[in-house]
């Protein structure tokens, strides 16, 4: 082939290499081109030109596309910014509104409640808990109706006492309302001097006890009571200090109608009770150091209770021996069943370990005096303590074991023999829950901060390090299950009154599930799961359809508040699936 290059269709005039005649040249060129119009070279050149053109157009298009994309991205970002602004604004508004609500509620709480209420208990649904005061007229009336021999008590029956008696007959709502009020109905006894004694005499437990132990004069003062405490338990109370009591009763009742306390304070009251219980233990220990025989006896009783609590099983009727043992120890401490010198102990004012001080019960009420034996309080504390320890360890590993412990705990604390002025001393147990599992009482905290953990009751080990997550979860599981096993007891067939009715369960359930999304913690999910798992049957027996609705909130709605990937929240959802599978209970709302 000739070494000349040939122009394509659109190319410039070709350089000629041979001739000077222009037209001839042109003809030659034309002919050559004509000749070679189908040659490979020509095609290649044409293709190259087309490719160049194509690339040029393509690049221009790409450029435009990029611009367009940038524009779109900018638009998306702008939208996002607007959305975010909107969200921040709304969230701020919401937070402000909540703050305002809280303030309003705080204000509302300051408003004194009008004392009387319609004399018939309203057939409202149980959850409608209202911080109203129990009505004196109603309760005393029902109390009279309830007691065939209308014993004209020398002192006015207190509202709380009366309602307690009425409880045996009352509807669950009655129980609930009355009970919710209980912790709030009275001034904390800390601030209230005991009627029979000079105010300064018993500011704290240890003071009282130490004074008794150390000053002989004081001891002499106390001694009659020491002997009397057991006596009052068996016989009708003929307390010498009765007259001085009546004005005080009036005082208290007027006080409580005037100033209803909010839950915050009574919940804090449990912290004080917990401290006082430590003093009780200290006092027993000090007495033991001086009196070897007492130490031995108290130790034996303590171990008998711990052992018996450990022996409880879920079998029907299988717990007779351990229950009898526990009751025997407590009775011995009251001086009922034994007259052992060693078990006689100092008297102790029980209101120090109660949320509020009950008034004297009607004649015939057991333990109607000012005191109960210190050892009895101590042993009730030991019972509570070992039950709680059993919850933490055993029920933490296997939540089903909580139930029998709860049954015994409630049935012992419901007994009139171990109550003071007809009111159960169950606050001893509750105080421990308050310290170990604050989540149940509406306390919230962040699992991941020091302060948050402290608030949530996350325990520290001996070296001051937080215990591991696994251990914490175990404890919370056990305590949640334990609390449920105490709250959800059925007293409808019992002569006794329920010392810690199911409204408390509802309250815990509500205060956990009402947590704002950013205040939720894994601890809450763990506790909630333990409270619900294995207890749905009891819960639904008491609350029926409202209970199903509550479970929906707890198992379906509440887990959504957790951050994505929260395992504790997931296991709550699995619990819903399990209920559906095992019991056919569907929680979906139509």
């Amino acid at each position: 082939m000739a070494p000349t290059s040939f122009p394509g269709v659109s190319s410039s005039p070709p350089p000629s290499n041979s001739n000077n005649d222009n037209t001839e040249d042109k003809m030659d060129d034309y002919e050559r081109r004509w000749r070679e119009r189908n040659s490979e070279e020509t095609h290649k050149i044409a293709l190259a030109a087309a490719l160049a053109r194509h690339n040029e157009i393509r690049e221009r298009a790409l450029g435009i596309l990029q611009l367009e994309q940038l524009r779109e991205e900018a638009e998306i970002l702008r939208q996002k910014r607007i959305q975010t602004e909107e969200r921040v604004k709304l969230e701020t508004q919401r937070a402000m509104e909540q703050l305002r609500i809280r303030e309003e509620e705080n204000k509302a709480r300051q408003i004194p409640q009008p004392p009387p209420r319609v004399p018939t208990p309203p057939p409202a649904i149980p959850p409608a808990v209202q911080p109203k005061q129990p009505d004196n007229a109603t309760t005393s009336a029902s109390q009279q109706a309830n007691q065939p021999p209308p014993a004209p008590a020398p002192q006015q029956p207190s509202s709380s006492n009366a309602s307690q008696t009425s409880q045996t007959k009352a509807t669950p709502q009655g129980t609930i309302q009355q009970h919710l009020n209980q912790p709030n109905a009275f001034q904390p006894s800390q601030s209230q001097p005991i009627a029979s004694q000079p105010p300064k005499q018993q500011p704290t437990v240890s003071d009282a006890i130490q004074k008794q132990a150390e000053t002989p004069a004081n001891q002499a003062n106390q001694n009659p009571q020491l002997a009397q405490a057991p006596a009052t338990a068996t016989t009708a109370p003929q307390h010498p200090q009765n007259p001085s009591h009546t004005p005080q009763a009036g005082e208290t009742s007027s006080a409580h109608t005037q100033k209803p306390q909010n839950l915050h304070e009574s919940v804090d009251r449990y912290v004080t009770i917990h401290k006082n219980l430590k003093e009780v233990r200290k006092a027993i220990k000090e007495r033991g150091e001086k009196d070897a025989q007492f130490k031995k006896k108290a130790g034996e009783m303590r171990r008998a209770i711990t052992r018996s609590v450990g022996q409880l099983t879920g079998e029907r009727g299988a717990n007779k021996v351990p229950t009898d043992t526990i009751v025997a120890q407590l009775e011995a401490s009251l001086g009922i069943s034994t007259v052992l010198e060693a078990v006689h102990s100092q008297p102790y004012p029980p209101e120090l370990v109660m949320a509020s001080k009950p008034e004297r019960g009607p004649q015939g009420t057991l333990n109607n005096g000012e005191h109960m034996p210190l050892l009895t309080i101590y042993l009730l504390n030991i019972l509570a303590k070992s039950a709680i320890a059993q919850f933490c360890s055993e029920a933490g590993a296997n939540p089903k074991t909580a139930d029998p412990i709860g049954v015994i705990l409630v049935s012992v604390f419901a007994q009139r023999r171990f109550s003071w002025r007809g009111r159960s001393l169950i606050d001893i147990v509750i105080a421990k829950f308050r310290i170990l599992c604050p989540v149940l009482f509406g306390v919230r905290g962040n699992d991941k901060t020091e302060e948050g953990r402290a608030k949530l009751g996350w325990k520290k080990d001996q070296n001051g390090n937080w215990i591991s997550e696994q251990e914490h979860n175990d404890r919370m599981t056990g305590l949640g299950a334990g609390y449920a096993s105490i709250c959800l007891r059925d007293f409808s067939k019992s002569q006794l009154f329920n010392p810690w009715p199911a409204t408390n369960y509802w309250f815990s359930l509500a205060s956990i599930t009402c947590t704002r999304p950013d205040d939720t913690s894994s601890t809450q999910f763990v506790v909630l799961k333990a409270m619900i798992d294995n207890h749905t049957a009891h819960f639904l027996r008491i609350y029926g359809d409202m209970g199903v609705r509550a479970l929906h909130v707890a198992l379906e709605d509440f887990p959504h508040k957790a951050a994505a990937g929260n395992v504790a929240a997931s296991s709550l959802q699995v619990l819903a699936a399990k209920l559906r599978r095992d019991t056919g209970l569907t929680l979906e709302v139509k």
Partner: protein, 505 residues
């Protein structure tokens, strides 16, 4: 033999190496949770259905807050920002603990049905053995595994998860996985674990192959078969058990299974009768050297996770001993132990059957619910006795060595060595492996448990002493003279360093 040092080297790598590098991973995974508020907001907005139910919930919340007293607002809006974050080391706990882990089960890629089962069992995070072993166990192609981990650290769950992940659920009647255990109780227990973890797995079938469980002539028609070697061998021989499609063969308590003459032979025969199997897994808390070699033959080319001897004891188990005046005096001392501390369930190991019966009588008198299991009981009877104990209907179990291994009752908080475990001709020498397995019945999954060994003469004292030296542990002495004092000692021992932290010292 040259493999042993290599294996320990790889152990060090696996156990200490990745943990250090994981710290970073943890930091990053930790930070996002700080901003969970916005993410949960996004969730709510994303799903209108959720939003709707949210509103309903809101209504209820208002109703609650309306009437009832305001829940104690321990957390105001105000104080949230100023809290100090928990130290990373605290948050993650002790890196050396056998329960330490930074991963979640989700991150290990376990399927949803199995995850639900784990959550319903209150499992929240994988233990160390699970975190190390599961990626290797679940990897493809399937690789053999020899894994050692302390008692109560989740070995069973690890291999059950593996088995459940390997099954072909379209063939519910075809046996695909076989798990062998040294005793019927243990086989029954593993069967139970498979059922529990698999409770949300659609179409799972499980069957036990223990004496008396499969009728003569009936076919074994479950995907997962759990059994004892002898029975399984008979079933395969009699063509009741089709092993042509086996995916996983697993030996729990593998050292025991391969060591004992009888069981070792049987296991090998079972393996030889299986034409092909994808994955052979050997798990145990103890692997004496001589068994290890055999194990490597049995499970060739296996990944190995091993422990050093002084890492074997679990910190949550507080080990004590009681100096008893005489062999007879042990009864009363035993009875007094209850009451010293909070005890859920307890297991008492004795040497002779008649001792078991006498202790049972003594403790029943004291109000305990007692059951006794030893070789004198027949198969199904043993099943129901152990089930009573497992369900908490009885809280004291008295047994001989038949139940030393593997039995997992989470609420067991005390183990008594009423007689020190001995082995050899006429019980001449102490048996540290059995001791370890016995005390491993408590302190399950990071819980605190107590073990108390009774000594009364020179021989028992020397034997216990040797065991303590073998594992390099300190045993705390208890006194039977002053129970108040003993109570205090026990209390302090239980309080001292919590579960899993003993490995620091």
């Amino acid at each position: 033999m040259s493999e042993t040092p290599k294996a320990t080297g790889s152990l060090a790598d696996r156990i200490t190496g990745p943990a250090a590098s994981k710290l970073d991973a943890a930091t990053t995974s930790f930070t996002p949770s700080a901003s969970n508020a916005s993410s949960s907001w996004a969730d709510e907005v994303a799903s209108p259905v959720g939003g709707q139910s949210k509103q309903l919930g809101g209504g209820i919340e208002e109703a609650q807050l309306d009437g009832a007293a305001q829940p104690l607002a321990g957390s105001g809006l105000h104080d949230a920002q100023y809290e100090v974050e928990v130290k990373l080391s605290d948050l993650q706990g002790d890196v050396n603990s056998p329960l330490f882990s930074v991963n979640t089960f989700e991150e290990l890629g376990i399927n949803q049905g199995i995850l639900q089962g784990l959550y319903s069992m209150n499992f929240k995070k994988p233990s160390k053995i699970q975190e190390k072993a599961l990626p290797l166990l679940l990897g493809n192609p399937p690789t053999n595994m020899i894994a050692q981990s302390q008692s109560g650290t989740g070995k069973t769950a690890a291999f059950v998860i593996t088995i459940l992940s390997r099954l072909d659920y379209s063939r519910p009647n075809q046996p695909q996985a076989l798990c062998l255990a040294p005793s019927r109780e243990l086989a029954r227990q593993i069967e139970g674990v498979v059922r529990t973890i698999g409770q949300f797995v659609q179409g799972l079938t499980v069957q036990a192959a223990v004496p008396g469980a499969v009728e003569r002539g009936a076919k074994v028609q479950a995907m997962v078969v759990v059994g004892t070697p002898g029975t399984v061998m008979d079933l395969i021989k009699r063509r009741q058990f089709d092993v042509s499609n086996m995916k996983v063969l697993c030996l729990d308590e593998a050292d025991n299974m391969l060591d004992q003459q009888g069981l070792g032979d049987q296991c090998l025969r079972v393996k030889q009768m299986i034409p092909r199997v994808d994955q052979i897994l050997l798990f145990s808390a103890t692997f004496p050297d001589e068994v290890m070699r055999y194990a490597q033959q049995f499970s060739p080319g296996a990944n190995e996770i091993k422990l050093k001897r002084d890492e074997l004891t679990v910190g949550g188990i507080k080990q004590m001993y009681m100096d008893c005046p005489s062999d007879e005096g042990k009864y009363d001392i035993l009875a007094s132990l209850y009451g010293l501390m909070t005890i859920g369930s307890s297991i008492i190991f004795v040497k002779k059957k008649d001792t078991a019966s006498r202790i049972a009588a003594r403790l029943t008198e004291d109000g305990h619910k007692v059951v006794a299991v030893h070789s004198a009981f027949e198969g199904s009877e043993r099943d129901s006795i152990v089930e009573d104990f497992r369900q908490g209907r009885a809280k004291v179990l008295i047994t001989t060595n038949v139940l030393a291994r593997g039995i997992d009752v989470s609420s067991v908080s005390m183990v008594i060595n009423y007689d020190i475990p001995m082995k050899g001709r006429s019980d001449a020498e102490p048996d540290p492996e059995t001791y370890l397995h016995r005390i491993g019945r408590t302190g399950r999954f990071g819980r605190v448990g107590v073990s108390i060994s009774f000594v009364f003469d020179r021989k028992s004292f020397a034997a216990l002493n040797q065991i303590a030296q073998h594992y390099n542990i300190d045993l705390v002495k208890l006194d039977q003279d002053d129970w108040d004092k003993t109570e205090e000692i026990v209390k302090n021992v239980i309080k001292s360093s919590r579960a899993g932290t003993n490995l620091q010292s």
